[in-house]
Symmetry: C2
Subunit: 335 residues, 2 copies
DNA sequence: GTGAAAGCGCTAACAT
DNA sequence: ATGTTAGCGCTTTCAC
């Protein structure tokens, strides 16, 4: 890796424009309180020299970095299985970009990485952190809180018992699940099953709660634990058909599992939605539109969640605390 | 966003350890040329104070940042459609982490963002850039080269006419395609079709070349342009069946399109592989293992590509220039 | 082997 | 409104 070529400094611009460094600095940072002709001269000098501020020097004195960290724990688990995370990242990126912030991505693979991330955040390299804490027992969130960096979580952290002053952005998983199940019930279905997500994630737990809100605790054999993957959906669906062959509706905790369930139903010759109605969660377009039949599902605006997280962190959203986003039912052919 | 708490400086550590700042600095940076007892004392002081070096101050003098940018152009296009990019990112992250480098993610959505990225890179905020240039006519690569930042490209850039001194990491798309087609031919298939990827990407072009290496220019009606998406695969497959109802083998330029093709074939009652053999490209596990039947494909080690890109950029891989990775045929049930 | 001192490029008081 | 000046926290000659 070669050295970067020497770049012009404030000093150089000041000299060229025939003003002081302070004036150049003012112009570069918005130009308030500098008279027009000077602003113009400085601007030209900046242009001609191709001057770009040295962020390190600036940070040294301002103690701001215009950078925030996005921490993603254990990518293998879920992150790379579906576009969920990518969409959120995109929302985050857009919002950060709009506010001239950089995105430092911190992927962690295991325990060793936790310490590393903790050190980095505590090191004051970034102005804040956006954290995706996937699992209930993840030690990372604690580490991060101790690092004393402003943080917004993606999804309700498992240990956030309401009282804690954690800020997070989440979908209304419970409400969405209720809508899904209610829809199935309104369709006249009476034996409604639920394929849960990985229950060490709050989203899965909340969706299960929503299911129970409508269906009560009756028929516990109609609830099968899945893992948010298509394979898990298949397994769960098989189990379901075994336990309760006359099941007439399935609410899967995400689209991926619903697609797996659909596959098994077709394999077993059950017609969807005639014999069994199926509804998913997420509205992952590449999935919902490709299934056969197209999947009815609960949509959450994932990109918006990311955008909101960033906005919360940057303080752009006012003094808002945690936000729970509404979900919407998207009817397609499967239910 | 609250202010970060004031952190101990070198000065504080020096005082506590009863040495000079210079000595502390030496210890912190490896401790060469400092006698053991002092090293020990300094280490303890660092520990007790919880000292973490201020990266901004360090960068200001060293002109290094221990950070590299990952530039991804136009995420919507491909990045979020399949886990390809996520896997590469993971490889990159692992390698960077191992060398104490941070990953600054730069997502671009359109022309405006190009200027922004160019400015950022030219601004000397990072020590290098890893760039994914998806399209042949993308102006971004040019901008980046002009920025004078060491760069490694993911995938062969379209304008890299061999002669140029661009460094990239790519799979042997052409060779892999040849293997795929050869496999189909060895199966005794005679009417082998090809669903290409988006032909404004070199990977798609190279795979098409590979197809032609084996099949020649005969039967141009057996080549249909796709776009790397499942939907594109479906459309192409329909077109193919129309043009040439007796097609007995299909090489799709990626697994996603192959899955779409599979869907259409099933829909039309063609048995796979009996009537039509299908082979994909990538070996995207979530796709290849979920299709019916499981998909035979050409595997490329995506995570390794990412790791290699990082290694090349960091100079860890010796004086290596561009690298083209071998692919392997993975036989499953579809061909 | 260790310390003293000179900046790195910038911003923010404070003068003017 | 503009200039002067004093650091921000660190590395790195250069003396000792």
């Amino acid at each position: 890796m070669t050295e970067t070529a020497p770049r012009p400094t404030l000093e150089a611009v000041a000299e060229r424009a025939g003003v002081s460094r302070a004036t150049v600095s003012r112009v570069v940072n918005g130009g308030d309180g500098v008279r027009e002709p000077l602003v113009e001269r400085v601007r030209r000098a900046v242009e001609e020299l191709g001057y770009v501020p040295n962020q390190a020097a600036r940070s040294l004195v301002t103690r701001r970095h215009d950078a925030i960290a996005v921490v993603v724990a254990e990518p293998e688990t879920r992150v790379f299985a579906d576009p969920f995370f990518a969409l959120q990242l995109r929302g985050i990126s857009k919002e950060l970009t709009a506010h001239d912030n950089q995105l430092v991505l911190l992927l962690t693979e295991g325990r060793d990485d936790h310490a590393r991330v903790g050190r980095y955040l505590a090191g004051g390299h970034v102005d804040g952190a956006l954290v995706f804490s996937l699992h209930l027992d993840d030690p990372l969130p604690g580490l991060i809180q101790r690092a004393g960096v402003p943080t917004v979580f993606g999804g309700r952290p498992g240990w956030s018992d309401g009282s804690r002053d954690v800020v997070f952005v989440d979908s209304d998983n419970r409400g969405g699940a209720r809508d899904a199940v209610r829809h199935l019930v309104n369709l006249g279905r009476t034996r409604v099953a639920h394929i849960t997500g990985a229950l060490d994630q709050t989203s899965a737990v909340d969706r299960l709660e929503g299911f129970r809100d409508i269906m009560g605790d009756a028929g516990p054999q109609l609830v099968v634990e899945g893992d948010f993957t298509p394979g898990g959906g298949e397994r769960a669906m098989r189990e379901l058909l075994e336990r309760c062959p006359d099941v007439d509706a399935v609410f899967a905790a995400n689209d991926l599992m619903a697609s797996g369930a659909l596959r098994v139903l077709r394999e077993r010759g059950r017609r969807v939605p005639d014999d069994v109605a199926v509804i998913g969660f997420d509205d992952m377009l590449p999935v919902t539109e490709q299934t056969d039949p197209p999947l009815t599902t609960i949509r959450q605006d994932i990109e918006e969640m990311g955008r909101l997280m960033a906005r919360l962190l940057l303080g752009t959203a006012g003094a808002a605390s945690s936000v729970v986003l509404r979900t919407t039912l998207v009817r397609r052919a499967s239910a």
